[in-house]
Structure formats: C-alpha cells, structure tokens
C-alpha cells in the first residue's frame, strides 16, 4: 500500500512537472459566448486553426459574468498559460491591473489598447470596413433608408456605425440611416430577441438593408431581416452563410488572424500596439457563393475602388474614436 502511494505520488509530481514545462496558450472569450457566430467565434476559429496546424493544445475559458474577469485572468496565469489572449474591450481595465503581477506571462488583448510591457494590443480599423459595407448598403437599398443595429453602446460600436453611415452617404447622399443600440450593458451582446425587435422597428421605418454589429444579438437581426424579406449585413465573421441570398455581405474583422498570430508567436509575443487596417487585411467585406447573386458588378466595382482609395489615403474615413463625433450620423 505504501509503495502504491509512493508510486502514485511520484506520478502526480511528474504530471505536475509536465504541465509547468509546456506553456499552453490560452484564450478567454467575452460575454457573447464562444458560439456567437460573430466576434468570439472568429477568435475560436483562429485558435482552432493554430491547433490544427501545430498539433498543439490550448486552454479556453468562457466568461459567464462580469465578476469573473480578474479571477479568470489570474487563474490562467497561475496555471502557467502563456500567452493569454482575450477578446473584447471590457478586459482593458482588468488586464491593466493584472498584467504587472505576471511579468513573465505574455498577454494579448483584442479591441483595446493596454499600455503594459508584456501586453500586445490588437485593434482594428472597423470604420474602414464598415465604410465598405455601408457603400454596398447604400447602393443596394431601394427605399433610400438603411438600418444599423449596434450591440452595447460604446465608442467602439459607434465607430462601426459612423463608418457605415459615411459609406451609405457616399453611395447615396440623400439616404437616411436609422441607428439603434441594443443596450448599455454587456447583455446587449447576447439578446437576439431584442435584436429581432429592433430590426422589425427599423423595417417599419423604411429600412431595407440592416447592418448588425452586435455579436450574438446580430443573429436575431439577421433572422428577422430574412423573415421580412429584406437584406442584412453580418459582422466580424463571414455570416453570409446564415441566410444564403439574404445577407448582402459581412464586414469581416479578422479576429481569427489576430488570435492565430498571437498563438503562433507564443511566448515570444511582441508587446505593443498592432493596428490591423484595410491595407493589412485586418478588415474587409465578404464575397462568396452565398451572396454573389446580390452583389451587382457596379457594386463590386465601386467597393473595390473605395477599398483602393482608402488604402492609398485618397478617401479618409472619419474615425469616431478619434474625437467622439461623427459627421455622418448622430447617436
């Protein structure tokens, strides 16, 4: 019996040793949930791609409520995960406080800038991508009214809305953009029932193309738009497949690439700010067989032209977060 105990103990020590030696990367998904078909799912896809290519394993955690943020971060850091990637601006303050306590652990945060020596901040120029899909919405709309459904009302989401409104007005200067936010707390990322109601209210106001930048809430918006026979625009992931022939396009934000890169860099993760813009392929519009019949040749030509001009600097898309105002829309 004692021998048995000693053996078991030795195995346990060995097992612990292996865990500490191999630093698995980790990812924490924000409140929308891993399967939101949008922002967090893009992150999940990036992690999966890394796992498939390298054969490595990674840890993952889904947030259930606000109070878990710090606990989740510390728990993963204590467990030796490195690097730790987290999706969502809401981790900003927590990470800023936690990162100095684990100087040997590398962190990457998406959608927020955290100024710490061991943190890589990945931000996207959603205004540019939203401008492109706005341009398409403006051209596709027959009523001259288009809608925008944001998730939680934060400057980042207003940046989506502002870029979108500018694109719409570039295609049709007389167009009307109806802007709505789902809510003011994080539950707004996962409320498809409310998203559907907002889409119905926008349709009643004449909107015939609705852009959802609302995480899991967007699923309800896209569903309601498909039910009503109007067009919708997906966000973050390519959501064209959700309702083939009824989703005009998706504003793709390559969160998957950001996660993939961070995992690939591993413990050598370079700290600092990483701006993923249109030129770097960080944002783009989606074109595949599901939405090909909806995108006319003129539309494609216009959006490609705008894309080239934004990259060359000829078109300047106003970034809401630069001065908290929007020339094209009022929030």
């Amino acid at each position: 019996m004692t021998l048995m105990k000693r053996l078991l103990g030795a195995t346990a020590v060995l097992a612990l040793g292996t865990v500490a030696a191999v630093a698995d990367p980790a990812i924490i998904y924000d409140l929308g949930g891993k399967n939101d078909k949008s922002f967090n799912e893009a992150a999940f896809n990036g992690a999966e791609r890394w796992a498939k290519e390298t054969g490595g394993t990674y840890k993952e955690l889904e947030m259930q409520n606000e109070a878990q943020r710090e606990q989740a971060l510390r728990q993963l850091a204590e467990a030796g995960a490195n690097p730790i990637v987290m999706t969502g601006f809401a981790f900003g303050d927590t990470l800023n406080a936690v990162a100095p306590d684990y100087p040997d652990t590398k962190f990457a945060i998406i959608d927020m800038v955290v100024d710490q020596p061991n943190v890589k901040s990945v931000v996207f120029t959603e205004d540019q991508g939203s401008y492109l899909v706005g341009l398409m919405a403006g051209m596709a709309s027959k009523t001259g009214t288009v809608g925008f459904v944001g998730g939680m009302d934060i400057p980042l989401i207003r940046r989506f809305g502002c870029g979108y409104a500018q694109g719409v007005l570039a295609a049709n200067p007389n167009a009307k953009v109806v802007l709505n936010m789902t809510g003011t707390d994080p539950s707004a990322w996962n409320n498809p029932v409310k998203g559907a109601e907002i889409a119905k209210s926008q349709q009643a106001q004449g909107a015939d193309v609705i852009y959802a930048a609302a995480g899991g809430t967007g699923v309800g918006v896209l569903q309601a738009a498909a039910d009503m026979g109007i067009l919708s625009i997906g966000v973050d992931s390519n959501q064209n497949y959700l309702h083939p022939g009824q989703v005009l396009t998706s504003m793709m934000k390559r969160v998957d690439n950001a996660v993939y890169e961070a995992f690939k860099e591993g413990t050598d993760l370079k700290a600092g700010i990483n701006v993923m813009d249109l030129a770097a392929g960080g944002v783009d519009y989606a074109l595949d067989e599901n939405n090909a019949p909806l995108v006319t040749p003129e539309m494609k030509a216009a959006v490609e032209e705008a894309k080239a001009k934004i990259i060359s600097g000829e078109i300047k898309v106003h970034d809401y977060m630069s001065d908290n105002t929007c020339p094209a829309a009022t929030f």
């Binding site: 949930g33 003011t184 539950s187 409320n191 029932v193 209210s201 009643a204 106001q205 699923v219 309800g220």
Partner: protein, 325 residues
C-alpha cells in the same frame, strides 16, 4: 410621434407581451389554488429549451411545442410533489426549479449540440410562421403611408404567430373557467379556505395538482413561443427574468385574468418603447435610454411596494394543506 412609429410600437408590444401573458395566467391558476409559484421562470426556460431541441431534431414545430409542454409539466410535477404531497416550502421549491432549469438547459445543450448551451438556428418549418388574417396586408410591408384602421388591423392585429392568438383567447377562457364553472369555484375556494373544500367532500390535493398542471401547460406554451416564435432557437438564460415580471404583473392584476392582460400589455409596451426609442426628447429635457430600459423594473418595484392599492393574495396561498393535526 408619427402614425407608423405608433403602430410599430403596438405591434412590438403584442409580441413582447405574449410570453408574459402566458406565464402570468399560468401563475394565476397555481396561486389561485393556493400554491405559490416563483418557478415560472424556470419552467419557461426548460420549455423553451425542450421545444427548440425537439423542433430542431424533428423539423416540426408542433412536436417541439409538445416537448416544451412536456418538459414544463414535468417541472410542474416536481413542484407539485414537493409542495402538495410532501408539504414543503413552496418558495424554496420554486427557487430550486429555477436553478435546476438554468443549469440543466446549459449542460444538456452543451452536450447535445456543442454550441455552448444554445441550440442550432431553427429553419422555417421548425418555427411558428406568422399568420396573415383575412383582408390584412402582409406584415412585412412597410408601415409608411398606411391609414390608422388598415394599419392597425394589418400590423397590430394580424401578422403574429398562432400562439399570440392563443394567449389572447386564454384571457376570456380563464375568466369563464374561474368564475362560471364548478371547477373554477372550487379552485378559488381551495386557495382561500381548503378546509371548507375538504369538508364539502372535494379533494384538495386533486384540485391543487390540476391547477399546477395547467400552470405547467401554459408555461410550456410560453417557452415554446420564446424559442420558436420570438426567436429561432434557444439561448442560455433566454427568458431573462420574464417569469418574475409575469409574477409582478400577476400581483399588479390582483390575481384576476382581465387585469392580467392589461398588466402584461403595459409591461410589453414599456419594453417596446425602450427598444424603439434610444433617447426620448420631450422638448425641455432628454430622457436617457438607461431610464427607459429600467422603467419596467422601476414600475415593478413601485407596484410591489403596494402603490396600486392593496393586493391581497389568496388566503391559503403558500401554505400546504394538512388534513388533520
């Protein structure tokens, strides 16, 4: 406010009030029979999950509805067993049901569908379709430029799924059952004075079980409407406190069916207004969106504080019936 917005808000009100109305009437039966039920939320949630799962598996909305009702009945039976047969504390049993539903739906959902507790999106045959009543214009038509009467008929009255009409018919049906039938009289009596009912030779236990079963049935419909009418699939915690709002509406309505309709419509209206208007500009000042979103809860607190007059619950409510001491 122009007519189109007004009609749109009413349209939205009807949809949002429907799950509340089902749950509120469900609670009415249970509480009128003397069994308090704060497990409405949990029963709705488990029904929404069972309905969406069965509907996804079979592609048939009616099988989904039956599964939802079955799951809610099962939970109602647990509540009945705990609070009628074993004379346990009804509030504790209700809380336990809420927790059980909240955990069970996520665990089963994650195991079956591997989507983090949600069900896959339901396709057309697996959801409730909107019904267009005779002479009504299609509900998807834009509201701009319609007259009040035709707009009201086409958009507010017509163009909802069948369960919305079932919920509305439930109100007069409940009134008739409670106040015009022998069963209704006995049901009300057993909630006020079970000893008298027992003396008259009527089984208190059977009456209370049938009331709790009706509660389960209606919670099942509420859940089915949530996951297959209002949205296309189940999401964790998708009932989002509607069971509690329904309880508040029930107290507001003082356990009477017509008032329950009015109370649920009021809560639906507040919800619809908060969705439609982000910031309400009333000339002098702008009402921030946080306020309109909080309004249903503020109202609930005011109501529960007894602002609307004294709400007297059924006298034997919350007390298990003991035949002999």
């Amino acid at each position: 406010m122009e007519l189109a917005s007004f009609l749109q808000i009413l349209d939205s009100t009807v949809r949002l009030a429907t799950p509340l109305l089902f749950a509120c009437i469900a609670g009415l039966y249970s509480e009128r029979s003397g069994v308090f039920d704060i497990g409405l939320e949990g029963k709705m949630l488990v029904a929404a999950f069972a309905a969406a799962s069965a509907s996804y598996a079979t592609g048939n909305v009616w099988i989904g509805t039956a599964a939802g009702i079955g799951a809610a009945l099962l939970f109602a039976a647990i509540h009945g067993l705990a609070s009628i047969t074993f004379r346990g504390n009804q509030l504790i049993s209700g809380v336990a049901i809420n927790f059980l539903a909240s955990g069970l739906t996520v665990v089963l959902g994650s195991t079956w569908f591997k989507l983090g507790g949600q069900t896959p999106a339901l396709t057309d045959g697996a959801r409730f379709a909107d019904i267009t009543l005779p002479f009504a214009r299609p509900a998807t038509e834009s509201l701009s430029g319609v007259g009040f009467v035709s707009g009201f008929y086409s958009h507010v009255i017509s163009g909802h799924s069948i369960l919305v009409y079932v919920a509305l018919l439930l109100v007069p049906a409940t009134w008739w059952l409670l106040y015009r039938t022998r069963f209704g009289l006995r049901l009300r009596a057993v909630g006020e004075n079970p000893a008298a009912v027992d003396t008259a030779g009527v089984s208190v236990v059977a009456l209370r079980y049938s009331a709790v079963a009706i509660t389960g049935l209606l919670c099942g419909l509420a859940g089915a409407y949530m996951s297959m009418g209002l949205s296309a699939g189940f999401l964790r915690e998708m009932t989002a406190g509607r069971g509690y709002i329904a309880l508040a509406a029930l107290i507001f309505a003082k356990w009477r069916p017509w008032y329950a309709l009015a109370a649920c419509m009021l809560f639906g209206l507040l919800d619809a207004v908060a969705i439609r208007f982000q910031n309400i500009d009333i000339g002098l000042l702008v009402i921030p969106v946080q306020f309109t979103q909080a309004l249903p809860y503020i109202l609930t607190v005011i109501i529960l504080a007894g602002f609307v007059g004294k709400a007297i619950p059924p006298r034997a409510g919350g007390e298990p019936y003991v035949k002999e001491r």
